[in-house]
Symmetry: C2
Subunit: 206 residues, 2 copies
DNA sequence: AATAAATCAAGAAAAAAATCACGATTTAAT
DNA sequence: ATTAAATCGTGATTTTTTTCTTGATTTATT
């Protein structure tokens, strides 16, 4: 369905999207590729190449329609296809993600959180309930959830992942610094907080 | 100093690093490129190419020394160069990052948090104090901190960023979904949580 | 000792991504 | 009206990244 947008492009698309939101709030209707490029420190033909993937024609000397661009970025990145997910691990990171309202506008719908700490059970976070982890398999079945956001401590990561896989979770968004062992039917996305930042921070710091 | 490691490579290096940590914990001394490659679903010559950047020779039929690899990854990614940082915005995400102990092992040292909510001031989080944002310029000067981790709400992002820049912050790790406007002397790293994940999640979900 | 299998190393080839360059178009200015 | 400037669209070029291939090396096996 989606034309297999490369990761780098989809990264840029979300950045373009933020700029579109900003322009709309400022009441500006059109935007040009050099404007965007300068803002992001990239080449303007790069921006145009990316926009061509969106099938969104610009107009010479004028630029692109902000509203149209925003819509087609959302369509291409699937913001409108709602994707349900569970957060597994209700520590600070789990709670932060549960409160992160932007997920919703990106089409990611957090249904509930899980933890094994009895003290946390039944607490409500941003209108989402924290359940004991033992309730997960049942809820996965009943709600047909395929995505789990894994925010448990490092030590528990593989064990919990195994449990998720048994429970029929198909996609794991992994916030732990552990390279999970999973069967080929399960897809893992490693959110590698440090990886790219280190590169950024070390490039010129000393 | 560092040989300008591309972003993709440094991303893989952190993944390799996690695997090394795991092997050390398991008491395994050596690891081969096919083992790593299979684990990550990538090509084994890719792994070897990456390792060559580390100047870490392997041994035919045996593989690489886990300990040596770990050390040279840490050296290359600058884990040992301690980098001080402030967290600006003490909401859930800010607190989560303040508690994220892995930062320390990656050489990122969070010194303090900031917020403008009087209720949060002086609270201790993981041995770090939350200060009122007005104290930031002074502390930046006194402690010579150059890195700020920005976790404020979207609406406040640009305004707070401007304040950071005035205060002589040089690197902003931006967790807000706003493309910040900064002068060329200031570097921004956009932590684009959704960008790559969307790509991952939409590729085959419908 | 000879053979086989696993692995590294490194150059070649292929693929992917980014940049350049230029013609075409549109708007604003003279 | 004509000219100039800004911008798009796109093919060509360059650069970067990944994969393929082959030969060398080391260990285990016969």
């Amino acid at each position: 369905m989606s034309k297999n947008i490369p990761e780098k492009v989809s990264n840029r698309l979300t950045l373009y999207h933020s700029i579109m939101v900003e322009y709309i709030e400022a009441g500006i209707d059109t935007i040009s590729s050099p404007q965007i490029a300068q803002r992001l420190g990239i080449d303007d033909s790069q921006v145009r190449k990316d926009f061509k993937l969106l099938n969104n024609a610009g107009k010479c000397r004028v630029g692109y329609m902000v509203k149209d661009l925003k819509d087609s970025i959302e369509k291409t990145l699937g913001f409108s296809k709602t994707k349900d997910a569970f957060i597994v691990g209700s520590g600070h990171l789990g709670l932060a993600l549960a409160k992160y309202d932007s997920f919703n506008s990106y089409g990611l719908n957090i249904l509930a959180l899980f933890d094994n700490d009895p003290q946390k059970i039944d607490i409500q976070v941003n209108n989402k309930q924290i359940f004991h982890i033992s309730k997960l398999p049942n809820l996965v079945q009943r709600l047909g959830v395929e995505i789990a956001i894994l925010t448990v401590p490092r030590q528990a990561a593989q064990q919990v992942a195994d449990f998720l896989i048994e429970s029929d979770i198909k996609y794991i968004w992994n916030f732990t610094p552990v390279v999970l062992k999973v069967p080929p039917t399960v897809k893992v996305w490693n959110e590698n907080l440090m990886g790219s930042f280190l590169q950024f921070a070390c490039k010129d710091i000393e």
